[in-house]
């Protein structure tokens, strides 16, 4: 194998890593805000699926990529509203709620999808192309890896410092973090706990819907009912493995994305291992990460505990 050939493959794997990271990062960084507000939204997988599905419907029916992405975010908002209603207002168990939502999303998307394509071939679409950043994209190696990506990928990367700034440098961010640790302290101060938690859940779900929309429009040309393939769960693992810190979450997401990128290159790498082994790597890695990284110091003390006055 020539040296030049190897270099091309490495650059290609790293560029794929950044692209594959995008939907995971949207979901994980959004859900991080939700969790810091004390809500364990376990419905990430279903919300992502709903976002992907709605994006598919809009892009094939109305032929607008921007409209499709907005619709995916709106779908996320609706899912978030349901989760917030059930966990904050009804104080249902967070886990059971999220699980129920995932199962609901699986059933609904399958039904709508079959109704949508009934009696005709499945419509396809042309998704996002790359947006090269002038100047930066001509840097050797880095240009191709970081600066020749889909437009939304830049937004996802930018979201990490933005969410960090919001959580650690603004008054609202402080309140959100406080909700996860000691909601009573805020309540006593006269801050509306429920309203903040609704906001945090809906923000996380909009980001997750956006991730789902990108998953559809950035990688594929048609909808499949198993399109999310556990990515919503990987986003949750990334938060835990990242110890509830934005940069930790980014690192964990990178690991998953790199492993998935490896799997897409397995034929070019030419290793004599069944390709299912590579496909299974992110899931295996998530168990190993959880076994190895046992620091849970960053876990909000009140995460998953429904807040009751008195």
């Amino acid at each position: 194998m020539g040296e030049l050939f190897q270099e091309t493959i490495i650059v290609s794997i790293l560029a794929a890593t950044v692209r594959i990271m995008t939907p995971l990062l949207f979901a994980a960084i959004g859900e991080l805000v939700t969790q810091r507000a004390g809500i364990w939204n376990m419905g990430v997988e279903g919300t992502m699926l709903m976002g992907a599905f709605v994006a598919y419907i809009v892009v094939t029916a109305a032929d607008t990529l921007a409209g499709a992405i907005l619709a995916a975010m709106l779908a996320g908002a609706v899912m978030g509203l349901v989760v917030a209603f059930m966990t904050v207002t009804l104080r249902l168990d967070h886990f059971v709620t999220g699980l129920g939502l995932n199962l609901l999303a699986g059933g609904l998307t399958l039904f709508w999808f079959r109704s949508y394509i009934a009696g005709r071939p499945q419509p396809t679409f042309e998704g996002f192309g790359n947006v090269a950043i002038p100047g930066l994209s001509s840097i050797p190696y880095l240009g191709e890896i970081l600066f020749t990506q889909r437009g939304l990928t830049y937004l996802a990367i930018l979201a990490v410092p933005l969410v960090w700034y919001f959580l650690y440098r603004t008054k609202y961010g402080l309140e959100i973090r406080c909700l996860g640790e000691n909601p009573k302290a805020l309540d006593v101060k006269g801050v509306n706990v429920a309203r903040r938690q609704y906001g945090a859940v809906i923000f996380g779900s909009v980001m997750t819907g956006l991730g789902g929309g990108f998953l559809m429009l950035g990688f594929s040309d048609r909808f499949l009912s198993e399109v999310t393939a556990g990515r919503g769960w990987l986003a949750i693992v990334a938060i835990i493995a990242g110890n509830w810190m934005p940069k930790g979450v980014l690192a964990a997401v990178l690991v998953f994305a790199f492993l998935e990128a490896l799997a897409t290159h397995v034929q070019v790498i030419g290793v004599e291992v069944p390709h299912q082994v590579f496909l299974a790597l992110p899931y295996l890695a998530s168990i190993l990460l959880m076994m190895g990284l046992r620091v849970r110091a960053g876990q909000p003390a009140n995460l998953g505990v429904p807040y009751r006055r008195a």
Binding site: M86, L99, F111, F113, G230, P274, A280, Y283, I287, M290
Partner: protein, 356 residues
């Protein structure tokens, strides 16, 4: 004036009433879905119920569909009652089918009377291994069972995919290889309950499992610990109960029951190992167990009902054009209403007079 206040004790009649309302609401919303898709709602639902329960033949077909759902539902009950969130029924069902298939290869050629019990034991062992693994990850490595069981589901599916697509269990045709195993010899098929129908003894396994689950939960020390964990895990630890042992037993039992669903589908219905007809049975079982109120009896009823609808869905599709995926959508919708009803059932309405 009417005031809402929490109930001190749950009332069975009120709970059943709330559940009935939830199922009704679920049907209404599902009807709206059908109407929105442009189909005739009444025609679709009539066909759905006729296809499910309209004749003796339809009923036996429904019982066949209900069998794996009851089993994965019961697996959910045992775990969730202990507040152990095993969502690995999907993987455990696959593991059961795979281990049992391995058993059928090991025991090939033996008489059915030896082969079939042996195959069932292999299958159960597969579920115990996968459930037990999640327990060890939880108690030894503090990995949440929610995460580990989801990830194990994916890992098991990829393992099956390897075994059937190029791996040692792949059926090799004349020119192509299929993503399935060769057919299972007839000696290893589960016997039929009614000859001429498709109803096999797997259905009896499901009913027996429900009775055993009831006895386990209500009449045994382990059942007491499971229910106590459901109320207050911390108090149990303080009482000196062996928590890791309970977690292991619960997950192993739960895994074994789900695995039995896989054995029953493979040796009673599919007769060759393939991923497609096993897909989703574990996740649906979670819905069945929760709609069944996390009680064995309720789970059997929910399994029979939704198993029936899944069986009737094809008839509905032919008669009214509504996709059979309506049934999974209905299951999700009903589940959401049942969860909400669970909250309502914890409250009661009290009439308050003006003076207090």
């Amino acid at each position: 004036m009417i005031k809402v206040e929490p109930r001190l004790e749950s009332s069975l009649a009120w709970t059943i009433g709330a559940f009935a309302l939830a199922i009704l609401a679920g049907f209404l919303v599902s009807g709206l879905l059908v109407a929105a898709s442009g189909a005739d709602v009444l025609k679709a639902f009539t066909a759905l119920f006729q296809g499910a329960f309209g004749s003796l033949k339809a009923i036996t077909a429904s019982l066949v569909k209900a069998t794996p759902l009851i089993l994965t539902g019961l697996a959910t009950v045992v775990a969730f009652r202990a507040q152990i969130w095993n969502i690995g029924q999907e993987g455990q069902l696959y593991a059961g089918a795979m281990a049992a298939y391995l058993g059928s290869l090991v025991l090939a050629g033996m008489p059915s009377a030896i082969q079939i019990p042996g195959i069932v034991l292999f299958g159960l062992a597969g579920g115990v291994v996968l459930g037990g693994l999640a327990a060890v990850l939880k108690t030894r490595f503090r990995v949440s069972e929610i995460i580990s069981t989801v990830m194990l589901n994916y890992l098991v599916v990829y393992l099956l995919s390897y075994l059937l697509a190029g791996g040692p269990w792949t059926e090799i045709g004349e020119t192509v290889s299929y993503h399935q195993s060769p057919p299972i010899p007839e000696a290893a098929h589960l016997p039929l309950l009614i000859s001429g129908s498709k109803l096999h003894i797997g259905f009896l396994f499901a009913i027996a499992a429900a009775i055993l689950c009831y006895l386990l939960l209500e009449k045994t020390p382990l059942g007491f610990e499971i229910r106590a964990r459901g109320y207050n895990p911390t108090a149990l630890r303080a009482r000196g109960s062996n928590v890791p042992r309970t977690i292991f037993l619960v997950l192993a039992i739960s895994g074994a029951i789900a695995a039995l669903g896989g054995v029953s589908e493979l040796f009673g219905v599919g007769h060759r190992l393939r991923g497609d007809y096993l897909f989703g049975l574990g996740y649906t079982g979670i819905i069945i167990g929760m709609i069944g109120g996390l009680r064995p009896g309720g789970t059997v009823l929910a399994g029979l009902f939704f198993g029936g609808l899944e069986s009737g869905a094809l008839y509905m599709k032919i008669l009214s054009g509504v996709p059979s995926a309506l049934v999974p959508a209905m299951e999700g919708i009903v589940l959401l209403f049942v969860l909400i009803a669970g909250v309502i059932a914890r409250f009661r309405f009290v009439r308050v007079t003006a003076d207090g």
